[in-house]
């Protein structure tokens, strides 16, 4: 006969069996779906979702002084990008009141990548694979998250201002995998802190893993380059110099030659390459959409500058010539359309030196870069006064990095007082007759330098604060 103790013992045994069987049993998954298990699953996911389908704000350059309209193109053709080109208050609703559903999609796409990185960071430690591999992938995820928040912040957050950064609205920070119906915007400072924290972790993890991967993956240099950019944007000149120096001492510049493809696997100047799907511009699309590179930009390049031919092509329509960028063509890149290049480190450092008044060092850095770009350095006139040196460097930055990533727009946003820009829009009816010219102005320090939060976000998350922007009405001239 079983006594009291025995029953208790039995129950204990049953509970023990339950507890031990529980974990495996309740973790079983459907086999008709792929649940990431191996480290490589996570690596593959990051590669596709961020590296390949890089969530760039596709009409970013239309807002800059690097782009201009094609005056003969029909208004109907140009209208789908007009809201951005003319810095409208609401960029997702066109003049006819129709919704342009994809124009402000970067917000959603970037946050999707952030969500992925959050899951990778959360789950990678439980994946099957070497610890080094896990460290590397986690590092890569931190890098992707930093890069993503950097983009988001500079698209949708207030421009950096050290005095007000603790109050200025940045973007909501989501660094875990909890799902909330609403999010509030963090401050610009909090956002930069998060970016720096992620970058520091990324650098450490990637370094400690000891793994070297292809150019499709960030390495320590890549992280340092982004960090120097992040510091530069915060006007932290010393640290910008420190990080740029790390990049420069570990990397080298390459000579640009219009006859050869510049971005290649072998080019040591390329640290990290990304963005291979659906380029912003294809050579055929540029004039067809009714916009092209601005002649003003094209004319900044001297004939001795290899970049003039390497970066630009010319489309001839009738008698008119239009400049088109080759940054998205296979003549320029064998890898992705977005690249981390050592040249940026030189420009970052030069700018920081110039800001600190160390014009000599600044000019040295620019000169190092231009040596790899010019066939004849003697045509360059290097300035000496600090303000001129700074201008010179910023112009070089514009020339070097044009049409890459979000560079030009972000650079304009961090310039002193944000320059005034004018965009002309020629009204052309369906029988190709020009009947008017509209001129829009993005004012100096214009609040429209910050993009509006997407409509869908405002609809789904009514508590989010939108950016206040001005109505943009044209000065109209009838023809």
């Amino acid at each position: 006969m079983m006594g009291r103790i025995d029953i208790r013992y039995m129950m204990f045994l049953v509970l023990l069996i339950i507890a031990s069987a529980c974990t495996d049993f309740l973790d079983e998954v459907d086999q008709d779906k792929l649940v990431p298990e191996k480290t490589d699953h996570y690596a593959a996911l990051l590669l596709k979702e961020f590296n390949k389908e890089y969530p760039i704000f596709k009409t970013i350059d239309y807002m800059t002084d690097n782009m201009t309209e094609v005056d003969y193109a029909l208004s109907d053709t140009k209208v789908s990008r007009k809201t951005v080109y003319t810095w409208q208050r609401e960029i997702e609703i066109d003049e006819e009141g129709d919704e342009l559903s994809s124009i402000n999609r970067a917000w959603r796409e970037i946050y999707e990548d952030i969500a992925i990185t959050n899951y990778v960071i959360e789950q990678i430690d439980d994946a099957d694979g070497e610890q080094e591999e896990k460290d590397y992938i986690k590092g890569e995820a931190y890098f992707v998250r930093a890069h993503s928040y950097f983009n988001l912040l500079n698209l949708y957050g207030q421009p950096f201002n050290d005095e007000t950064a603790d109050a200025d609205l940045g973007v909501p920070l989501r660094t875990n995998i909890a799902v909330e119906q609403v999010y509030y915007r963090n401050t610009v400072r909090e956002c930069y802190n998060q970016i720096e924290e992620d970058l520091t972790l990324a650098t450490e993890l990637i370094f400690n893993s000891g793994i070297e991967k292809s150019k499709w993956h960030p390495d320590v240099n890549t992280c340092n380059l982004l960090m120097s950019r992040v510091k530069l944007y915060q006007k932290n000149w010393e640290e910008a110099i420190d990080f740029a120096t790390k990049v420069i001492s570990n990397g080298s510049l390459a000579r640009m030659n219009a006859a050869n493809v510049f971005v290649t696997e072998d080019n040591t100047e390329i640290l990290y390459s990304f963005y291979t799907l659906s380029p912003v511009f294809t050579s055929s699309s540029q004039t067809v959409t009714g916009y092209s590179s601005s002649p003003e930009l094209y004319n900044l390049y001297q004939d001795e500058d290899a970049r003039k031919v390497a970066f630009f092509g010319i489309n001839t329509v009738g008698t008119a010539e239009y400049y088109i960028t080759k940054k998205y063509s296979s003549d320029f890149t064998e890898l992705g359309y977005g690249n981390y290049r050592v040249s940026e480190a030189y420009l970052n450092r030069a700018e920081a030196y110039a800001q600190l008044g160390q014009t000599g060092e600044a000019i040295n850095d620019v000169s190092d870069l231009l040596q790899r770009r010019y066939s004849d350095m003697s045509v360059i006139e290097f300035p000496e006064a600090q303000a001129e040196v700074l201008d010179f460097i910023l112009t070089e930055r514009r020339k070097e990095l044009c049409f890459e990533d979000h560079h030009r727009w972000f650079d304009l946003r961090r310039m002193e007082n944000r320059p005034e820009i004018k965009h002309v829009f020629t009204l052309v009816n369906s029988s190709a007759q020009k009947y008017g010219v509209e001129t829009y102005t993005l004012l100096s320090d214009d609040p429209n330098y910050t993009l509006p939060i997407p409509l869908q976000e405002r609809e789904n998350n009514p508590l989010i604060r939108n950016n206040e922007r001005l109505e943009k009405l044209p000065v109209k001239e009838n023809l």
């Binding site: 309740l26 998954v29 593959a44 996911l45 989501r174 799902v179 869908q456």
Partner: protein, 1206 residues
Amino acid sequence: MKILRFIFLFGILTWSGIVHAQTEKISISAQNVDIDYIFKEIRTQTSYGFFFNDDKVSAIDNITIQKENVTVKEVLDEVLKNSGYTYELVGDVITIKKGAAPQRQTVKQIMGTVVDEDGVPIPGVHVNVKNSGLGTITDIDGNFQIRIPDSFNALYFSFIGYEQQEVEIGDKRILNVQMKPQFEEIAEVVVTGYQVIDKREVTSAISTIEGDDLDEIGALSVDEMLVGKATGLMVSNVSSTPGAAAKVRVRAGSTFTGNQSPLWVVDGVIYEDPVPLSAAEINSFDNINLIGNALTGVNPQDIESINVLKDASATAIYGTRAANGVIVITTKRGKVGKPSISYQGSFSFVDRPRYTDMYLMNSKERIDLSREMYEKNLGTVSSYANLDYLGYEGALKQLWNGTYNFDQFQNQVSYLETLNADWFDALYQPSLQQQHSISASGGSDNMRYYFSVGYDDQQGPEIGVGLDRITGRSNLDLDITDNLLVSLKFSGSVQEAEYNHNSINVFNEAYYTSRTIPVYEEDGDLFYQSQEIYRRRDGTRIYGGYNVLNEIENSQRNITNKSFTISGNLQWKFLNNFRFQSQISYRNTTNMSEEYITEETFYISKLRTYFDYNDFDETSVANDAMVPFGGIYSGGMVDQKSTSITNQLNYNKVFNSKHVLNINLAQEARSTKFWGSTGWLSPGYNHSQGRSFIVLPAVKYTTDQSIVGLDVNSYEYKYMISWLTNAGGLDVYPSITDKVQNSMSVFGIFNYVYDNRYVLNFNLRSDGSNTFGQYERYKFKPVWSVSTRWNIHNEAFWNNDNVFEQLSLRSSFGFRGSMPNASPYLIISDYGKNDANYYSENIASLSQFPNATLRWERTGTFNLGLNYSMYNGRISGAFDYSYSKSTDLLQTRPISLVNGSAAYLYNSGSKDVQSYEFSIRTVNVKSKDFSWSTNLNFSHDKDRVLEGFEEATSQNLSVSDYLNGTVYTTGFPSNGFFSYQFDGLDESGLPTFKNLVDETGGSIDEHLKSVLKYEGSRIPLYYGGFGTELKYKSFTVSANFTYKLGYKTRLLKLYNGNQNMPYPYENVRAEFNDRWRNPGDEQYTSIPGLSDETLLFSNDPTSDNYVSNLGYVVPSGTSAWWMYDYSDARVVKGDHIRWQSFSLSYQVPSTISEKINVKNARLSLRMSNIAVWSLDKKLKGQDPEQVIGLGLPTLPNYGFSVNMSF
């Protein structure tokens, strides 16, 4: 009372069957107790029984005793010392009586046999001596033997299910007793799947349907036989097609996006659906599930009883599976006795539908319609070429082109006017159904068995449809020892069904084909009408011959379901009060399906680009032929395995015979796996030549030396290649199912009964499951319920002369849940080296973010119920009121994009249901030869969405969801549906609608609200059944009715398709006879007139048919003609009463049946679905349960059945 108590205890003793021994030793230790306590101790520790001559004996108290290992004698000597009582040991009975010296009692021995009404011995009958605690039970042969003191002179015999009988002993020493079965057999127990509860102690809302009630109908499937049988249970048969699953709801269900069907449990084993269909497919009243449901393969003849568990207290024990109610089926088990074989067979005949029920135009009316079309110079849509000169239009064409003179034309028209082709005759058949079932049952003391085999053959009312089913079951109960019971159950079934190809809608064909179109040519061949199959790139149109009978002849869909269930159950009683019970079950179902359509059909001609080889065109085949030769074959297989193990430890203790405590602690693990592949379609199927495939010719290599590779350009069947890509629209690749659902649970049931008056019950269960979100998985959130019952009739104050012999009040409150059906994992797809840019590295896409925080849906239910029975069971029934509130219902909700997606499955919706249920059963007359009983049940479920979809457009809901009632609108019933608002006819007889142009400038949602009108619920809010039964001598007549009230439905479409004018081969509903014909008619009729206006809508404000928010408010591509069918002008009340069944049965007198060696024989005539009375006259014969596009819900059935047992 005291004596009774001892009898009760003595009964327990007798059961335990212990052999006495005078030498038995006991230990006893007590202080200040009464003598009852001592007696009880002796009884517990020994095999002695007591009886008293004087019941004052229990007044002896204040006894203190301390003995170790002594005989009973020693104890009694001590206890009765100085008490004035003495004792005597007679056999294993202790007699206590007053007096100094024990007098020698004379003892007599009585023997006898107890038999049932048929003379079969009954084992286990209690034989008790009146006014004593003595008794015994009969052995396996029904024999008993008892020695009793001479002074006792009566025995009574009792056995469950039989009337208690008292017999005077007199001088007799041999007593042979025949037991009479209890007339009104009340079910004693309720089975919940985990527990068997005494009906008098049930605290929950449970409807029980006994085998007898179920048997009456002779239904072929279990869900069908539940219609109108229980309160709170609504069953809708959406299709008369054999094998189609009914839609079953318990108290209106409790989820939006999850499966709303109840959980089915057969003998403690959860039956899952054989194929994991989406919840939307299962829930939708617009979808027939022919694939099979959980109950496919359960033979109704094997069912002993069905219990519908409705409230939280009843279902909480099923934890996260229970929110939509649980239906527990108990199958028959063997009873101790000689083997008994019974046969049940039925044959029935299902009538086909007829034009008289259809409210359609006859030939003459249809010709009149066409004539008006031509008089008004309207003609049919231009792309239709009436090549065959069909209908009035055809005759007219012949007249115009000179083939007919006017007389010939007149003759042809009058021929057509009287043609009245019978398409319902051609496409439906009066069908035969038969059903046979043989079972054997019986058993001895330590073994009981029930075996059965069943065979069903059902022909469908539609031609080409049929179903065969074989079922088998074996239930075996083995008493290994006195305290160890093992039950083994095996059951299996095979169901083979044959249906028509999914491209053929037989009902629509019969309904909407004009009666001026003959089915056959005069020579008996099929009549083919020419319809366009293909339009060449040069604009020439290619036609093919169409007759639906040819399509049916050359295509088929087969679905086979096999199921196989094993379960083993062990019950071990130990330490008097403990019982350990363990059940292991394994259930496997296989669903196999194939579907083919051959090249002989119009359907394939369309994919081939030509019908007749004369029309063969190489370029067309190369460029557009999806299936250049052969037909299409598709197939699939899904296998489902569920395994479960449940261990329960039960403690049952009676204290002071007033307190009954019952505790159940249990643990359960279950796993369900689905595995299979479905949905692939292969072209080139060659049915006639041995069911093989014609393989495509190989692609040749190029002859051009400069190009290396395959020459795809010169390949003959270029377009075929699109079959392999996602451009083809037909899926050559199967979709693989490989799913697993595991759950682990612990639960406890605590039950306390005081004096049969007060019952308190508490249930607690906690589940973990792999389908919960990753943070919720291990949290084992508990569900619980608490419930009480007050048996008022057992109260002392309740006068025994009261008319009520039972009156009990029940109340319960608790929670239950339903599991989310969404993945808790991050899912990726397209993993591999499939990008040239990253050629050496793998890439993968995000497929789905996990629903990491998904919780189960939770339903809290309060239930208040009353059970009553009065006038000795003449009137009985129950009332129930319940309020359920479901919260955390899963809904896709818009969320901040910061989460990485714009919408997310959220535990956010809520709804509530108030249910009122009432049932009454009366026995109006009860005499030897004649009895008459009636029953009625009524249920009202008032459900309401508390938090639903507020903004339709942001939820990707379309206006169709509103029209079909699949939108969960806050404040409305969950099946509430909407219509366009018909605004009368304009002066040209065209329909107009209100508010199509939004003048307020509000949002799309606001516009939708002003365009649509709320109609009501799509499913009945009030439902139930009533019936009556008359018995006169050997005859029994019964009739049952069901009713569904408080809902609305749409009339069938005026005519098929979306074009404004009917084609000559199409029929039109008869109300079109009252159509608008001349200006001014719009005053009198709301049926639009004939018009060639397409009435398509436009988003151009200058257009006549301008509608704002086109695409949202009106789906793009639809016209006002379509809207008319979805307007309030076509909505009617669905309220109806259905004469569900009528039966007349004759019990063959035993004097006759015994001559043919049959113990029991019954013959019955049966009819079901006899008639339906709709309250809304506008239905004009349309079955109110009929849904557009699904054919007929039910058809009359006339049958004959035989029941025999040997």
